[in-house]
């Protein structure tokens, strides 16, 4: 029996580890480094209706134990993803979670309707929290009512379960979480990036061309852990947690505060083999804690 397997709406996970959206492209590059079938799932880069070229460069800047990014949802667009990216991923035995982004509700709905019909797309991740696009994205993620309505609209057309990705840039993330649950979300993914900024020391100008960027990496983990801890107590749908996960200990932390699975983003840039490494290390860590099955870790912070 597989000690790491987890079942979530639409997802039969071999293990709770999946690369986070935007940090793994559409899998090709990491597919050259290791067999993607090892992964619990793959969250692909945000897909929008039309092709997007994203923001001007520089798009990334390093910060203390973190990084800022303002890629701007560059992606080949719905058609490109349907015709090229997703079919290529079919060679692997791994469920795909399609990250859906847009400017208006109509965009989200159209992308969701189509992409949810792809054979290997087992769930959607509604990106209502991208801080790096002028309109849309995060605006949906900071207002409970808008978050609720968008979720309901997408839920109505999606062929697969819908997870909603929450923004940490809010006063009360519990309210947003409850709103999307009422909107019919099958699950929650959290957190997206914190809005931050870094200056060039000489010029005093922001390094990122987009001025601000999304903060990710180990620096944000304490905030992510706190938010998952809070949200897991007020919703009854599963949470895929993320934010600074770099090793098996971090995974155990996210499960402990109530996440049912964990996504790894920035750490892929630091160590391209981090996902398979974590999957390999988890059983030993579980033994050390006397944990039989990975699901026994879920929510232990609340139980104890």
């Amino acid at each position: 029996m597989n000690r790491l397997s987890i079942e979530l709406p639409g997802l039969q996970l071999k293990n709770p580890i999946m690369p986070a959206s935007g940090c793994f492209g559409f899998g090709k590059e990491y597919g050259n480094l290791y067999d993607l079938s090892q992964l619990g799932a793959i969250m692909i880069k945000a897909t929008t209706l039309e092709t997007r070229f994203g923001n001007p460069t520089p798009r990334v800047a390093e910060t203390a134990a973190g990084m800022l990014n303002a890629i701007g949802l560059q992606n080949p667009g719905l058609q490109g993803v349907m015709e090229a990216e997703l079919p290529w991923l079919e060679q692997f035995d791994v469920p795909i979670i399609a990250n859906v982004a847009g400017t208006e509700t109509a965009d989200y709905v159209e992308v969701a309707k189509t992409i949810s019909t792809a054979p290997n797309v087992k769930a959607l991740e509604l990106n209502i929290s991208c801080p790096n696009v002028k309109c849309g994205g995060i605006t949906f993620g900071t207002d409970p009512q808008q978050a609720h309505d968008l979720t309901a609209a997408v839920k109505a057309v999606s062929e697969v379960p819908v997870y909603v990705k929450l923004s940490p840039n809010v006063t009360d993330i519990k309210a947003i979480a409850k709103a999307v649950e009422e909107g019919g979300a099958d699950g929650i993914t959290m957190i997206n990036t914190l809005v931050g900024m870094r200056l060039d020391q000489k010029t005093g100008r922001p390094i990122i061309a987009n001025v601000t960027g999304g903060l990710s990496g180990p620096a944000v983990k304490p905030v992510a852990i706190r938010m998952v801890y809070e949200v897991s107590q007020v919703v009854n749908i599963p949470i895929i947690g993320m934010g600074g996960v770099s090793n098996a200990e971090d995974v155990i932390d996210f499960l402990s505060v109530g996440a049912s699975a964990v996504a790894v983003g920035t750490a892929n840039f630091v160590d391209p083999f981090v996902c398979p490494t974590i999957i390999e290390e988890l059983p030993a860590k579980m033994d050390a804690l006397g944990i039989e099955h990975i699901t026994d870790l879920i929510g232990r912070s609340h139980r104890l």
Partner: protein, 258 residues
């Protein structure tokens, strides 16, 4: 194939003010396919600094399974890298990207190699390989000043070498273009690596000539997955953006809009 290799420092020395030359050994060396490829270096086992640093491969010695990188210790990461001693381990990802095409210049032909500052290192391995196959290499190297200039002797071993320094403390005063103006050499190809303004000037000066330029861009993954390192292309087609890390860092002149 791209490897994540725990390479061992064979030697590290300062070769100019703030400029370090580090010799590394590891199986990664065997995977290098062309000069101008780079490696993505993790400078410390800590989360701060977090990201890897892209550094060009300056020279290769397959016999010894060694490669050399030359870098400026400037910011937080490279300053830490400069503290590594012989025997220390360095986490290196590579080789990455597509380097300079050596076979674009035929034996007997002349190639001009133009480098600026920390853009000079990859030209050294390129020159080694070009001269080895019988190409005549002419080197034009630009630096801020004499104290930060390096490898003049090494390049002279391989062919004519002209230095330009902004403050005139070594070679011609001014920029590489000042040297280029007075070069009446006939040449088949030019190869260049350096800061954007320099690449721009070189490309303009040599309009119509066959040339290859190596670009810099801030990076995340270094392997093509994160879309951090894109450059705009001149032809606004669907491939309006190309990735420096995986499509480049070397592109034919004219492809990237500078």
């Amino acid at each position: 194939m791209i490897l994540q290799d725990k390479m061992i420092v064979k030697a590290q020395r300062q070769i100019a003010q703030g400029i370090f030359e580090m010799r590394l050994t590891g199986k990664l060396v065997g995977e290098i396919t062309s000069p101008g490829q780079f490696v993505h270096v993790r400078v410390a086992d800590s989360f701060e600094p977090l990201l890897r640093r892209p550094i060009s491969i300056a020279s290769i010695c397959n016999e010894l399974n060694e490669m050399t990188i030359i870098y400026r210790a400037e910011g937080r990461g490279t300053t830490m890298l400069a503290k590594k001693r012989e025997g220390d381990e360095v986490d290196v990802l590579g080789p990455l990207g597509n380097g300079f095409p050596v076979d674009e210049t035929a034996p007997g032909e002349t190639a001009i190699l133009i480098g600026g500052g920390i853009g000079v290192p990859p030209l050294y391995e390129l020159s080694k390989q070009l001269t080895a196959k019988g190409v005549k290499c002419v080197h034009v190297l630009g630096f801020q000043s004499a104290d930060v200039a390096f490898y003049e002797e090494e390049f002279k071993q391989l062919g004519d070498t002209y230095i330009a320094t902004v403050d005139g403390s070594l070679g011609t005063g001014g920029f590489v273009t000042n040297v280029m103006e007075n070069l009446d050499e006939e040449f088949a190809t030019y190869y260049s690596c350096g800061p954007m303004p320099m690449l721009n000037a070189v490309q303009t000066a040599y309009t119509g000539k066959k040339g290859f330029l190596s670009f810099e861009q801030r990076m995340g993954c270094g392997i093509g997955a994160c879309f951090a390192c894109v450059c705009q292309t001149t032809d606004q087609t669907d491939k309006a953006y190309i990735k420096v890390c995986s499509d480049g860092p070397v592109f034919p002149a004219g492809v990237v809009s500078i």
